[in-house]
Amino acid sequence: MAVLNVNGKAVEYTADPNTPLLWVLREQLGLTGTKYGCGIAQCGSCTVHIDGAPVRSCTVPVNTVGDKKVLTIEAVAANGVLNKIQKAWVELDVPQCGYCQSGMVMAATALLAAKPNPTDADIDAAMTNICRCGTYQQVRAAIHAAAKA
């Protein structure tokens, strides 16, 4: 039995030490909002925050996380109140199929924390998540809207 700090709580899990954080979150902790899309840190569907930084959890061995703070999509809305990014996402009706959107929200939340007024170039650099439905135009608009909110 090992321990992770996830969404502000110490949680116990049992998994081989090399298991990617993604699968511990999904299969051991039931946090299925973090998605599997590629397994090679390309698509960003599995993005979580580790100590505030956006990370692709599909290639992070769980034994390297230690006592760092892991934040997943399930806890970005503190006390049930959507964060600025989520509110903008709802206001602009961003998601289509939605499968990539947890990762998009996590990446955009981290971007705004680092750069409260991101330029289009900042958005291009930070939002490398793949969306196949093609929500990019709404994603960009929603990040700008959240920055102004």
Partner: protein, 723 residues
């Protein structure tokens, strides 16, 4: 208009498998309190259930996969129902219930941009019938004629007495009444809910991680599995060695299915995947191992000049007209295999016992998934059921049930235990039904004034129907190979009125499975047709828009003009930028696009802006159409820039996003949509616009560089001047 109602009402309590099973098993219901009510609430009809607290549950048979059909169909029902949109929620009926109830919800299949255009009438009838029953129940309660009562915003009013009652208060009584035989549907001019840019019903769950997809399904006792099928489609499994893998942590069982794949079942997916990596396999691939992209291309090339070909569209005598023309223009185009790459890899959960087989999955075709489950289980359909979950993308991929079959075969190995079978991205990438590869030889004759006097399009390449639905071939011919080039019809008709044309298809079918891919055959046919039209305009020394307008029929011309007007086509552009145009009719709608691009001195392409016009007939949700059109350019331009599946030693070479690139946000052009509905037909929206993306950009590139790109994807082409 008055129409004969096509819906009957039966006393069906919503306590069947759909809702009860759904609750215990994570089935999607936006409001949990509905579940408790659902046990006792009787439906008004198949489409509408109203709870005592006024909540409206609308049942949607088509699958939501991002395209917004769920919200659009709910708008149509709610419009006729005259209910409060804020009270609306939704649920999926199950395919098994549909069969038990004599297909009361009709077609579950969600493809071909059909969701709204082919079910709009019967879902609107469903809403209208329910409304009439609610009014009748209130009138009966008040002892007044129903004709004196009206309904709006979930409230029934008797004007003379000033009495009002909400739907929830009379729904139970209404459910006992006979449905009316006839209802009058509203004129779209009077729509208040439909036709409006309402927000989607499924957004909050998708930004909080709460939305459950097939991949997220869980239930007590569930085990996880993963699969490795023969890398060569059509190859067989000779033998495998699992001696190392079976000792690994969490592994429960390792076995072969279908004679072509090995499955590992373990406690977790990661354990199953790790163990599968340790399984060695021997495949029997025979002669298929000699097939490569080169041999496939040679096969298609031969078809370009073959004597035998299926004729799909013919007028006058094209060959004679071309022979006698003042000028002959010829070009050969090609289009590669492409992959859908849904964000969520294929997966399904199945539980099998000797007398019941259940499946939980995202599917574009619940009834096909049910049939696949029945066949794989060896049980009659009546003993099988499919519970639909949200799809992490479809694009045609989830219209096929191969992954459902595998999950059921795996579950059969461990009766009673639910098995969630997940494909790795690598398995997904290499075992698809791919966008077919085709080539086209374009031959045209121009007279001395540049007029187009004859056109021959010889298609050569793979048939989707031959690959997936051979029973649908017509005397060996694949009619949908001519999508976008068809003579007539509401689906995909050719828009140019030409005296002499011949469009024929030399069918060449490699062993790679071909299938439906968002936009299907309109995609490559639009590239051939619309890029060559620019070539002809150039040969005639005329402007591409003016040249097209000489031949385009009115509806095709109107939408192209609308896009060009909005884009400012013909007006000066910033230095170094060029416009390219294209149009097509597909899935019942008329669409056009104008691309504004630049190519730098070192050959760097930038797509600055896209202006896209759509005439879908009736507009159900303009905001969702806008999203679908903008998204179509991501999908269509990803394919144009990077989309290419290649074959080596009989197997697909690409395995993941590192070898199969797609567009990211930094390449996304600004997309402006223009809606020009004529309100006289019902067209589809999800697919047609894909087809104008590539040709508009290719035509703009030709203007910018003088280079005509005829073979996709663009990444193989050097756009630098002088190279």
């Amino acid at each position: 208009m008055t129409i004969q109602t096509s819906l009957g009402r039966r006393g069906f309590l919503v306590s069947g498998a759909a809702v009860a099973g759904g609750f215990s098993l994570g089935f999607h219901l936006p409001f949990d309190e509905n579940v408790a009510h659902a046990q006792a609430v009787k439906e008004l009809n198949a489409w509408v259930v109203i709870h005592p607290d006024d909540k409206v549950v609308i049942r949607i048979a088509r699958s939501e996969m991002g395209q917004g059909t769920l919200t659009g169909l709910c708008q149509l029902v709610a419009e006729e129902l005259e209910c409060d949109w804020n009270k609306v929620t939704w649920e999926y009926p199950t395919p098994g219930e549909n069969l038990k109830r004599n297909r009361v919800w009709r077609n579950f299949s969600t493809g071909g941009s059909r969701g709204i255009r082919e079910s709009q009438q019967y879902v609107r009838e469903g809403g209208a019938i329910a409304r009439e029953m609610l009014i009748a129940a209130a009138a009966k309660q008040w002892n007044v004629p129903a004709g004196e009562c009206s309904a709006a915003n979930s409230t029934i009013t008797h004007k003379a007495s000033g009495k009002t009652v909400t739907y929830g208060a009379v729904a139970a009584a209404a459910a006992e009444l006979e449905p009316p035989k006839e209802v009058k549907l509203k004129d779209p001019k009077d729509w208040k809910v439909a036709g409006k840019p309402l927000k989607r019903l499924d957004t909050v769950e998708k930004v909080t991680g709460k939305q459950l997809y097939g991949m997220d399904h869980t239930m007590p006792g569930l085990l996880n599995a993963t699969v490795r099928a023969c890398p060569v489609i059509g190859g067989k499994l000779k033998d495998f060695d699992a001696s190392k893998a079976e000792k690994m942590p969490g592994v429960k069982k390792i076995f072969a299915i279908d004679g072509n794949a090995v499955v590992v079942v373990a406690d977790t997916y990661w354990q199953a995947k790790t163990a599968l990596d340790a399984v060695t396999t021997n495949w029997d691939i025979g002669e298929l191992g000699k097939v490569s992209t080169e041999t496939i291309n040679a096969m298609l090339k031969e078809g370009l000049d073959a004597k035998e070909a299926f004729v799909g569209n013919k007028a006058g005598d094209a060959q004679k007209a071309i022979e006698g023309a003042a000028k002959k223009v010829e070009a050969v185009y090609s289009f590669p295999y492409q992959h859908h790459v849904t964000m969520e890899p294929m997966n399904a959960t199945a539980r099998y016992t000797a007398d019941k087989c259940e499946v939980w999955c995202g599917t574009q075709n619940g009834e096909a998934a049910l049939a696949a489950a029945s066949e794989a289980a060896g049980l009659p359909v009546a003993k099988c059921e499919v519970y639909k979950l949200m799809l992490g993308g479809g694009f045609g991929r989830r219209g096929r049930s191969d992954y459902v079959r595998q999950a059921v075969l795996a579950a059969k190995e461990m009766p009673g235990t639910p098995i969630k079978l997940i494909w790795s991205r690598e398995e997904d990438m290499t075992h698809c039904q791919y966008h077919p590869t085709t080539m086209a030889k374009m031959t045209a004759g121009l007279d001395a004034q540049g007029n187009l006097v004859g056109l021959h399009i010889r298609l050569s390449g793979q048939s989707i129907l031959a690959s997936l639905l051979p029973q649908n071939l017509v005397n060996g011919m694949d009619p949908i190979a001519f999508q976008g080039l068809m003579q007539t019809g509401v689906e995909a008709a050719y828009g140019y009125d030409l005296p002499n044309l011949l469009f024929d298809h030399a069918m060449r079918n490699p062993h790679i499975t071909a299938g439906f891919w968002r936009g299907v055959n309109v995609n490559q046919n639009a590239v051939y047709m619309e890029c060559f039209m620019d070539e002809l305009a150039e040969a005639a020394g005329q402007d591409p828009l003016a040249y097209r307008l000489k031949y385009l029929k009115p509806k095709w011309a109107a939408v192209l003009k609308a896009a060009c007007d909005k884009a400012g086509y013909g007006k000066p552009l910033p230095e170094g930028r060029f416009h390219g145009i294209s149009q097509v009719m597909g899935y019942g709608s008329y669409v056009a696009g104008v691309a504004e691009v630049s190519v730098s001195k070192d050959g760097q392409l930038k797509i600055h802006k896209i202006t896209a016009a759509t005439n879908p007939g009736h507009v159900v949700n303009p905001a969702q159409i806008d999203r679908q059109v903008a998204g179509s350019f991501v999908y269509g331009l990803s394919a144009a820039l990077y989309g290419e599946i290649t074959v080596k030693d009989g197997a697909v070479e690409q395995t993941n996003f590192d070898t199969y690139n797609v567009m990211r946000i930094d390449e996304m052009p600004d997309v402006e949509t223009v809606l020009v509905p004529t309100n006289d037909f019902w067209g589809g929206v999800g697919e047609p616009t894909i087809a104008v993306a590539a040709p508009a950009v290719l035509n703009a590139i030709a203007k910018a560089t003088g280079k005509r790109v005829r073979n996709l994807p663009l990444m193989h082409h050097e756009l630098k001047k002088g190279v």
